[in-house]
Every structure is written in structure tokens, then in C-alpha cells.
């Protein structure tokens, strides 16, 4: 008889991490299951970006453990984490401004060694974001805000990620652009089968897309549950007021 264990895709256990010697994340645990769309919300400065950077290997981890698909990635180099197909779209500086759009996508596909596979992925990304095809030879630094975010997502998709973590991809976008981008994210989840963790200022919007929400306040997980639970909780809403649009 064979037991089938279903590992969580991502598991963070009692994580304490930060910059230099300063701890920003203060004992956070969370799991992400395959197929999830998790919204990570919380006020400015609550440590959302720091938590994500800790997962991908860009901060100092003092205590706790991070594993991805069963592999220990605690304090591993970002390039190693990327090679395990964990995609990450940073909040800022998320494209290579001096490289062309096409080169940005090629860099995103670095871990894909098979060139026909890389070409297939390129076609897929361009199919998802047709605007990138028409800007192919333009430097990413000259793209509009919306185009730039699409390229940032496209770059991450080039590595065929199992999990895609996006840090406020719509922060600087006009509402219409933001809606378009979120539509694409839903498409990426349903059609490409990519598990998604999304950090977003607009909690209502993020929670409307997700099946689970995590609220981070002052480096600690304040709440975790279904979007309905979070939106119903008047105490949480009170905590967010002034910080977030709920």
C-alpha cells in the first residue's frame, strides 16, 4: 500500500527575519497549498515585502524555517530559490531598465535550459500580454507603468513558476490598468495552473480574487481565513482604517 503525502507548496515556520541585525518579521508561520490564491494584506510598513523577501532569500533569517515543495530554502541564495521555480515580482525595480523587453523575458527564462521550451514560454507570455510583442526591442526603462508591470509579471512567468509571489503589482497603476492586470492574474492561475500569493494595498480587491487571506500587522500574522471572514471582521477593518481601502 502506498501513502500519498500532499506537501504544501510553501511552508513558513515561526520565521523571524529582517535587515542587518534588526528583526522585522516576528514569528510568522503560513502555508500555501497548490492551487491557492492567497492575498497578503496589512498596513504600510507591516512587513509584507520583508516577509516575501525572506522567502526568496533577500533578507537575513534569524530563526525559523522556509521550505518550498519540501526543499529547505531557509537562507538559501535567491538564484537557488529561483531555480526551484518560485517566481517573485518585486514591489519596485522589477524590470531590467537597461535591457530590452525581449531581453528581460530571456533573463526571466534563465533557469529553463531547453531552448524550444524557452521559446514556447516566450510565446505563452506574449500571448498573455500582447503589448510586450509590439515593444519587443524597446528598453524596459521606456515602458509605461502598466506595460512595465506586465513585463515584470511576464519575466517571472518565463521561469514556468509553480508559485508566483507578487508584491503590490498594481500599486502605481490607474484603476483601469489595475483591473486589467488582476484579470491577467486570474487567467494565470486558472489557465496556467500557477499558485499565486498577492500582496495588495486594496484589501477588498485582493480578497475578491483570493480563496484565502493573511493579515500582517507589525511583523506578526494578525489573522488568517477566508476573504469573507476577513471582510466581516469589524475589528480587522478598524485596524485597517486609514491604512487600507476595505
Amino acid at each position: 500500500m502506498r501513502f500519498k503525502f500532499r506537501l504544501p507548496l510553501l511552508e513558513v515556520q515561526s520565521l523571524i527575519s529582517g535587515y542587518g541585525k534588526m528583526a522585522i518579521i516576528q514569528g510568522v508561520s503560513l502555508t500555501i497549498e497548490p492551487g491557492d490564491f492567497v492575498a497578503l494584506v496589512g498596513p504600510n510598513g507591516s512587513g509584507k515585502s520583508t516577509l516575501i523577501k525572506s522567502i526568496v532569500g533577500l533578507t537575513n533569517i534569524f530563526e525559523g524555517k522556509v521550505s518550498f515543495q519540501g526543499a529547505d530554502i531557509t537562507s538559501k541564495k535567491p538564484e537557488y530559490v529561483a531555480s526551484l521555480k518560485l517566481g517573485y515580482v518585486p514591489q519596485i525595480s522589477n524590470v531590467f531598465t537597461d535591457l530590452t523587453v525581449r531581453e528581460n523575458l530571456e533573463m526571466g527564462g534563465t533557469i529553463i535550459k531547453n531552448s524550444s521550451q524557452r521559446k514556447k514560454l516566450m510565446d505563452q507570455v506574449v500571448g498573455l500580454f500582447p503589448i510586450l510583442a509590439s515593444r519587443e526591442h524597446q528598453k524596459a526603462g521606456y515602458l509605461s507603468g502598466g506595460e512595465r508591470q506586465m513585463l515584470a509579471v511576464g519575466r517571472a512567468l518565463m521561469a514556468e513558476p509553480k508559485l508566483l509571489i507578487l508584491d503590490e503589482p498594481a500599486a502605481a497603476l490607474a484603476p483601469k490598468m489595475a483591473d486589467q492586470l488582476f484579470e491577467k492574474l486570474s487567467e494565470i492561475r486558472t489557465q496556467l495552473g500557477v499558485t499565486i500569493m498577492l500582496v495588495e494595498q486594496n484589501a477588498r480587491r485582493a480578497l475578491s480574487l483570493s480563496n484565502r487571506g493573511i493579515v500582517l500587522i507589525q511583523g506578526k500574522k494578525a489573522f488568517e481565513g477566508t476573504p469573507e471572514q476577513i471582510l466581516k471582521d469589524t475589528e480587522l477593518i478598524r485596524l485597517f482604517l486609514g491604512e487600507l481601502t476595505v
Partner: protein, 336 residues
């Protein structure tokens, strides 16, 4: 008929253009070419690891001495001499990176320490070369590479020797090959990606330490090649590179520190300024030739004051980066 026209043209030419101009332009081109080869590795270093490596000039010295030794066994064989100089300096560059710079960068020290460390490395290499060259029976403190110099063509009664042609061809070849590498190969594009945004490069799965090793191979190797070519013009001494240090930094500062096209243009600007321009200043205004070495100095100051980004197209790169780095410490910045 045709012949008399040529003679006529030449007479007109002689009247219009002073006798020194053509040879001077050729020397400027050759010297500019040497600057290009000698500086472009430093530009690469600045772009990829953000290090103003003052030890870069020592690669020239080491390369030239490798030329001296190897040319004794393979006289005039430029291919073997050049390859050996490239190889030795590549190895030296990688060794220096792993012994000195990488451990410091791992400790996230500020860029001041890295600059000072590169000074120390430069000094160390210079004195090792000095000690080695002055030991033994036949001193090598002033040595020459065994490379024959002969006239290849004569243009407007000016004889052009093989080493001028060599320098110019080498600069073109190096520039073209580097452009192909950086723009058309995945590894080359990765290097530009690292130069642009190192954190994002890592996140994209680019093997940064591998790319940095390759970068040092190219930077050190080209420094060595530059040394061989420089050593065909002058005697090889332990201060060959040190004497060129300022010119090399003038070139990369004019280039805005990280621009490759800028480095090529900068190389010729410095090449012309230390030859044709000073000769013109002397011919028309009586400026003494002794001022020639001041021109790169003056250019550094003027560029830093007037256009600190040099020939670089935007302020994202180069000196603007260094300013931020000096304000902040080199490795604390990154992706939010």
C-alpha cells in the same frame, strides 16, 4: 594626367595641413586604441561589480612582462604572446577577486574599503613585480618585448608601422567581440542584467558568481592584452601600468564609468588629447608639450563638474551610482 593631379592635390594638402598633422593623427588613433583595450575591462568591472578597481592598471604591467618573457621563446609571435598575457592576467584577476574583493563584499563593507583594498592590491602587485624584476642576474627593470617593428604602409609620406596597425585592429576586434558577447549571448546579456539590477538578476535565477568570474577573466585578460600592446611602444617597467592609471581613469570617467560605447569614444578622446590636441596647442598657441600629461587630469575635473554622467545616456548608471554608493555603503541597496 592622373599623376599630375595627385601631385597637385598633395601640394594643396601640404599647404593646408601642417607637416605634423597626419603622423600625429595616426599616433593618436593608435594610442587611443591602446586606451580602449586597456580601459574597457575596467568599464566592465565598474558595470558588473561596481568596483573602481585601481589594480586594473597593474594588469597592464603584468601583461607586458608576460610579453617580455614569452617573446623570448616565441619572438614576434603575437598570437602566443597575447594569449599568454591574457591568460595570466585572467587568472590573476580571478584570484584577486576571490582572495580580496569577494570576502570584503560578503561582509557588505562600504565602497570606501573596496577602493582602498584595490589600492593595496595595486601596490602589492607593483612591488612584487618590482622585486621579481630586480632579482636575478639580468635585471628586467627596463625590459623590452621581442617584437619586430616594421613599416606596413606609407600614407602621405608617413610610414605606418605594424604596431600602429596592430593596436587599431585589436581595439576594433575587442570592441566588436565584446559588443557581440554582451548583446547576443545569454551570458553576456546576464552580465548586463547584473550590472543593471543585481538583485533582480538573482531572483531571475542568473548565476551571479559564475558571471562575475567570467567578467574577471575578460577584464583581467583585456588588461593584459593592453599591456602587451603598450609594451610594444615603450620599454616595459614595473610602473608601466601605474603611469597609465590616470589616463585609463580619464577614459572611463569620460565614458560615465559604465558605458562601453563611451569607453571607445573616451579612449580616442584621451588618445587625441595627449597627441594631436597638445601638438595643435603647441603649434598655434605655443603651449609646451610638457603639459600633455595634464590634459587627462583636466578632462576628469571638467567632466565631473560639467557632466558627471560622462557619455553615459542616463543618470541611472555610472557616477550617479557611485555617488549613491558612497552616500550609503555599497551593498545595502536593493530590491524592495
Amino acid at each position: 594626367m592622373v599623376k599630375s593631379m595627385t601631385i597637385q592635390a598633395m601640394v594643396v594638402f601640404d599647404n593646408l595641413v601642417p607637416y605634423w598633422v597626419v603622423p600625429s593623427i595616426i599616433i593618436s588613433l593608435a594610442q587611443g586604441s591602446i586606451y580602449v583595450v586597456a580601459s574597457i575591462g575596467l568599464t566592465l568591472t565598474l558595470a558588473v561589480v561596481k568596483l573602481p578597481n585601481f589594480a586594473h592598471a597593474e594588469f597592464l604591467t603584468v601583461g607586458a612582462y608576460v610579453g617580455v618573457i614569452v617573446s623570448r621563446f616565441f619572438p614576434n609571435n603575437l598570437l602566443i604572446i597575447g594569449s599568454c598575457a591574457f591568460l595570466v592576467c585572467s587568472v590573476a584577476a580571478i584570484a584577486i577577486h576571490h582572495i580580496v574583493y569577494q570576502p570584503l563584499m560578503n561582509r557588505k563593507v562600504s565602497i570606501y574599503f573596496l577602493v582602498l583594498a584595490s589600492f593595496a592590491v595595486a601596490q602589492f602587485i607593483r612591488y612584487v613585480v618590482y622585486a621579481w624584476a630586480s632579482s636575478g642576474s639580468a635585471t628586467l627593470l627596463v625590459a623590452n618585448q621581442d617584437i619586430r617593428i616594421y613599416t606596413v604602409i606609407t600614407v602621405f609620406q608617413v610610414e605606418i608601422s605594424n604596431i600602429y596597425v596592430l593596436a587599431i585592429i585589436l581595439a576594433i576586434a575587442v570592441s566588436v567581440l565584446l559588443a557581440i558577447f554582451l548583446n547576443l549571448t545569454h551570458l553576456g546579456k546576464s552580465m548586463r542584467a547584473i550590472a543593471n539590477n543585481a538583485d533582480l538578476a538573482r531572483i531571475s535565477g542568473i548565476n551571479v558568481s559564475f558571471a562575475v568570474n567570467i567578467m574577471w577573466i575578460i577584464a583581467g585578460g583585456l588588461g593584459g592584452l593592453g599591456g602587451v600592446v603598450l609594451g610594444t611602444y615603450t620599454s616595459v617597467t614595473p610602473v608601466l601600468g601605474f603611469d597609465a592609471l590616470l589616463d585609463i581613469f580619464a577614459v572611463v570617467i569620460i565614458a560615465g564609468l559604465t558605458s562601453f560605447v563611451g569607453t571607445i569614444i573616451g579612449g580616442y578622446i584621451v588618445g587625441f588629447s595627449t597627441n594631436t590636441i597638445i601638438e595643435a596647442l603647441n603649434y598655434y598657441f605655443g603651449v609646451p608639450f610638457g603639459y600633455a600629461p595634464l590634459l587627462p587630469f583636466a578632462m576628469i575635473v571638467v567632466v565631473l563638474m560639467v557632466r558627471p554622467t560622462g557619455l553615459a545616456p542616463n543618470s541611472q548608471t555610472g557616477i550617479a551610482w557611485l555617488r549613491r554608493a558612497f552616500g550609503k555603503g555599497v551593498s545595502s541597496g536593493g530590491t524592495n
